[in-house]
Symmetry: C2
Subunit: 325 residues, 2 copies
């Protein structure tokens, strides 16, 4: 199974989307961030979900792009908040232009997302907008919680899972639900799609946290150890803060306490990775990620559709489980 | 005629709107900015416009609040971009909290606006969202142009009118159009409402530029001369840059060139006001504002409705023409 036909259609649709023209300062950053690529997971989930029920999955393309535009809007604004210099290896919008441009272009991107959603059948629009609004608000809530966690040292695993559910997973859930709605699936079925997306999203984010530490630098797209250098409150760090005792705890706190620029980053990455491994966090995180992926598969299996029809989305889910980048 | 019953209903609706609860860092700034007051012109225009056709104008209340929430979202983000310390005499959101909070709370406010629009009849939703999207994008375009103009000295009157049309007027136009759509008016009629709102919006903004210079400090809510101190490219300054010659031009450029904090602000306000008056800009701006107001009235007069039914909105338009604050 290859996802090439879907991905090509998504790519073409992104290139042909009219985000706006004048003033160029407003619209150029949108074309820029949308051209940086990425895995296009979310629109792929939308068209694959639609394709579960209808052959004409192209019907879901424009709304699928709405999800990708929304996702990139959140990246543009999150990058300002996180003072991130790079996105997919290229300068972030607020670096290439400035923060004001990134704020305002992001705002228009959110409007663009709603415009693309208008492509659904008029009768479906109230439901689609309602669900999208809920999802969009939740993604913002997740970002706020993520920022709140930065200054806390007592974040529980439960709180962390709650945060990544909002920040990352609900949008994957919505992406799948949207495909189902467009294809005319009933509410019980679109709920299963949503559950599948949310659970795979949780597995996906936990895997991301894992890959940041244990990923193969040759395959992983980002800098391995980036989260460790930034003291980012990932699942790994939160668990380590809960589990570490004695000298291990002292060592962890020592590395966390160092001011940026005052230490050898490679040494910190090596030392903290070592602590994680000693604490068995690689296995704990993998087990938890697998449990969420299993829940996602269960939801897919429960879909009232012939198994051969499910093959593409099942294979895509398997790809997410096994990904190394 | 008093607008008290409408304004009270708008105020109550704003207080009872559920913007969201957790995390409080995200939603508290929304309640804060919405509680700062303001004239509530936009929701008033929506309910007055609905009331042209139906007695049950309360039907338009929630969508009317959508317009006010959207307006306050733009204020929250614009204040970050403009580094404004105060809004309606109170600290701006990015001052009271921080820029990240103002970015993210603003984002959720935009989502909230779409949620409130869902209150329209399902059959009207595609048209309402389409028109709102267009308006929202145009307001962002206007803000971008406004920022672009800051660093230019060759802005023409035409460009300035184009900018305030986008930044301010189209939202007043949409506010009125929305009331008409909700009340079931046909497209030709809602177009007249839109034209009325846009033209009154242009008159309104030009009047705002005038009041900033010539307003009565006892009545005008903001600091008289605030635009002069900030070198803001208002209609007055743009016209002055075009019309001033010789010594007057030298004097104007001198006051514009001074670094903030290095001069007596009262002296600058007095001197620049004097230049504006010498150039006859008070009369030029008033004449132009009056011309737009007249166009607005003309559109209202052309509405195919009994004159007595038009009385409230006509009186409100007259209030906008005569306002001193």
């Amino acid at each position: 199974m290859t996802f090439q036909p879907y991905l090509e259609a998504i790519s073409t649709q992104i290139q042909h989307t009219a985000y706006g023209e004048e003033p160029t300062e407003l619209y150029e950053p949108i074309r820029y961030i949308m051209s940086l690529g990425g895995k296009r997971l979310r629109p792929l989930l939308t068209v694959l979900s639609a394709n579960l029920f209808i052959d004409d999955w192209q019907k879901a393309l424009k709304p699928a792009i709405a999800v990708e535009v929304f996702h990139n809007f959140t990246l543009m604004h999150d990058d300002i908040m996180d003072c991130a210099p790079l996105r997919r290896g290229k300068p972030t919008v607020h670096e290439k232009w400035n923060a004001n441009t990134a704020i305002l272009s992001g705002d228009v991107m959110l409007v663009n997302a709603y415009e693309l959603l208008l492509d659904v059948a008029p009768a479906q629009l109230p439901r689609v907008i309602k669900r999208f609004n809920r999802t969009a608000a939740e993604v913002c809530e997740g970002q706020q919680l993520d920022m709140n966690f930065e200054t806390r040292t007592d974040v529980s695993q439960e709180e962390y899972i709650g945060m990544i559910r909002l920040k990352t997973s609900v949008l994957l859930g919505f992406a799948m639900e949207l495909g189902g709605i467009i294809a005319g699936a009933d509410e019980a079925t679109t709920q299963l799609l949503y559950d599948a997306g949310v659970n795979m999203g949780l597995g996906f984010q936990l895997k991301d946290d894992l890959l940041d530490v244990y990923g193969d630098p040759e395959k992983f797209g980002k800098q391995v150890g980036g989260d460790i250098i930034a003291n980012k409150k990932t699942f790994m760090l939160i668990e380590a803060l809960l589990l570490a005792e004695g000298k291990t705890k002292e060592a962890l706190n020592y590395w966390l306490s160092l001011e940026q620029g005052s230490y050898d980053t490679a040494a910190k990455v090596a030392a903290v990775t070592d602590i994680y491994t000693q604490l068995g966090l690689d296995k704990i995180a993998q087990t938890l990620a697998d449990a969420y992926f299993a829940k996602g598969f269960e939801a897919l299996e429960n879909l009232p559709i012939a198994p051969e029809r499910k093959r593409p989305i099942m294979e895509f889910a398997a790809f997410l489980v096994g990904r190394e980048s």
